[in-house]
């Protein structure tokens, strides 16, 4: 029973992860080729944390990080989009066991698994959940929110696909592989 609750390490990972998420969202956004838009790197970090610490941590980093960031930088929380961060963190976290990044191996098949899952999660999140909630809660015009969601979704998919994969690869390099010892002859 006790083991099933959040472990101390996961609690700390959620807290620190949310703090890093906020800093990345505020400072590390790259100017993109499309005018007036930027590439958010924080979702790549969210994906990495979800893969390392699992679905619950991923979901809560998305929830707390996004909600706190909205609150301290815009003064109000855009809940319909916060829900998407929670959802994306959770779904990507579901493949944590399969990818098993702690093994130190991040090969082509794991890379493909990761990207397929992140694209599916973000497609449902940005193309469906965010616009529908915007319409239900804020009664905004449908075509406006779908275009917004489409744009946010595609740019986040590309960011997570490129930067997220780089991060996962770099992280796996820091883990020791189980067969890394060999007898010297």
């Amino acid at each position: 029973m006790f083991k099933k609750q959040l472990s101390i390490k996961n609690i700390v990972a959620i807290g620190i992860g949310a703090a890093v998420f906020i800093i990345l969202a505020k400072f590390v956004s790259l100017p993109s080729p499309v005018p007036n838009t930027s590439i958010q790197t924080s979702y790549a970090f969210l994906a990495l944390m979800a893969v390392v610490f699992g679905p619950i941590a991923g979901a809560l980093i998305g929830l707390i990080g996004h909600a706190l960031n909205d609150a301290i930088s815009y003064g109000s929380v855009w809940w319909s989009w916060v829900v998407v961060s929670l959802f994306v963190g959770f779904i990507i976290g579901l493949v944590a066991k399969r990818i098993n990044i702690e093994s130190g191996v991040f090969n082509k098949s794991k890379l493909i698994t990761f990207n397929v899952v992140q694209i599916i999660a973000q497609a449902i999140g940005w193309f469906l959940i965010a616009p529908v909630l915007d319409i239900l809660v804020y009664a905004e015009p449908a075509n406006k929110v779908f275009v917004q969601g489409l744009f946010a979704g595609v740019s986040n998919m590309v960011t997570v696909g490129v930067i997220g994969s780089i991060l996962l690869f770099a992280y796996s390099k820091t883990r020791t592989q189980s067969n890394s010892l060999h007898r010297e002859l």
């Binding site: 959620i14 807290g15 949310a18 906020i22 990345l24 590390v28 590439i39 970090f45 003064g75 770099a170």
Partner: protein
């Protein structure tokens, strides 16, 4: 790189003296009311009330003006976007169309559209002062204690407290790493090619992430040593006991919510329609 953030502002005022839980609950009630209603009369009433509350808090406009300007710009752009995508939304909602003048094609200016967009803007104006106040008048550690008190598990509340506590630390780490990498010629601005820029971003993110993972290790070991999570409950250093003013405030806010919902939904529609 000095980006301003909202943070706690120490002051002696009736709002500051309320317990964190009271403020959190009132904030939730207020957002729910403002989110559900589209009734202009209610929104106007809540807006005026929020200004009154804001004045009581003795927070000066100057102290949060950087955020206010940002919000106003955002609202302006949002309004333009709504009009671009859906110039007939107001007509659709209110069912009538009083055209003021035509621009081109489906783009005309109707009284209904203007009224609808005023409502959307008003909705933000209603929530913003209260949300801002909640952030600047609640101490971060009291906020975590309040979350626990309204039923969020103390583990998750503690994670929120950790996040708030470590934002400045992570920001300092980030700044050191970014400056060190810039000194080595790593460029994130649009002068660099996009593919190179992405690679450069990773070269800042990787040290930041690895140092944060080390931090996670250290902190969780320290918490483990102190027996965190052993008991079902936990006390908070900064939790404040309820006083009569907290009960009074809560009762007033609950009554406000009921009042707002009754007025909004008594005719079965979220929108107040002055055009009928």
């Amino acid at each position: 790189m000095a980006v301003e953030m909202l943070s706690y502002i120490e002051r002696k005022s009736p709002i500051h003296q309320l317990a964190g839980v009271t403020k959190l609950l009132c904030f939730i009630i207020w957002s729910t009311a403002a989110m559900l209603t589209y009734d202009t009369r209610i929104l106007l009433f809540l807006f005026v009330l929020s200004i009154v509350i804001f004045i009581t808090s003795k927070i000066k406009i100057k102290e949060i003006s950087f955020i206010l300007i940002f919000i106003l710009v955002f609202l302006f752009l949002n309004n333009i976007a709504i009009y671009m995508f859906s110039p007939q939304e107001g007509v659709k909602i209110y069912g009538t169309s009083y055209i003021l003048f035509e621009i081109a094609g489906r783009y005309n200016v109707t009284v209904e559209q203007i009224f609808y967009q005023i409502n959307i803007t008003l909705k933000y104006f209603t929530v913003t002062p209260v949300a801002l106040l909640f952030i600047v008048t609640t101490h971060p550690s009291e906020f975590a204690a309040s979350l626990n008190k309204i039923g969020v598990s103390y583990r998750i509340s503690y994670a929120v407290a950790l996040a708030l506590r470590y934002i400045p630390d992570v920001q300092r780490d980030f700044r050191n790493i970014a400056l060190a990498q810039q000194a080595r010629g790593v460029d994130l601005s649009s002068k660099e090619k996009l593919s190179k820029r992405i690679k450069n971003a990773a070269s800042i993110m990787i040290p930041l992430i690895l140092s944060s993972l080390d931090k996670i290790e250290t902190i969780s070991n320290a918490m483990e040593l102190r027996g965190f999570g052993k008991n079902k409950e936990r006390t908070w250093y900064s939790a404040r006991p309820f006083q009569s003013r907290d009960y009074i405030t809560l009762v007033i806010f609950v009554l406000l919510l009921i009042f707002a919902l009754v007025i909004t939904f008594h005719d079965g529609n979220r929108f107040y329609n002055p055009f009928k």
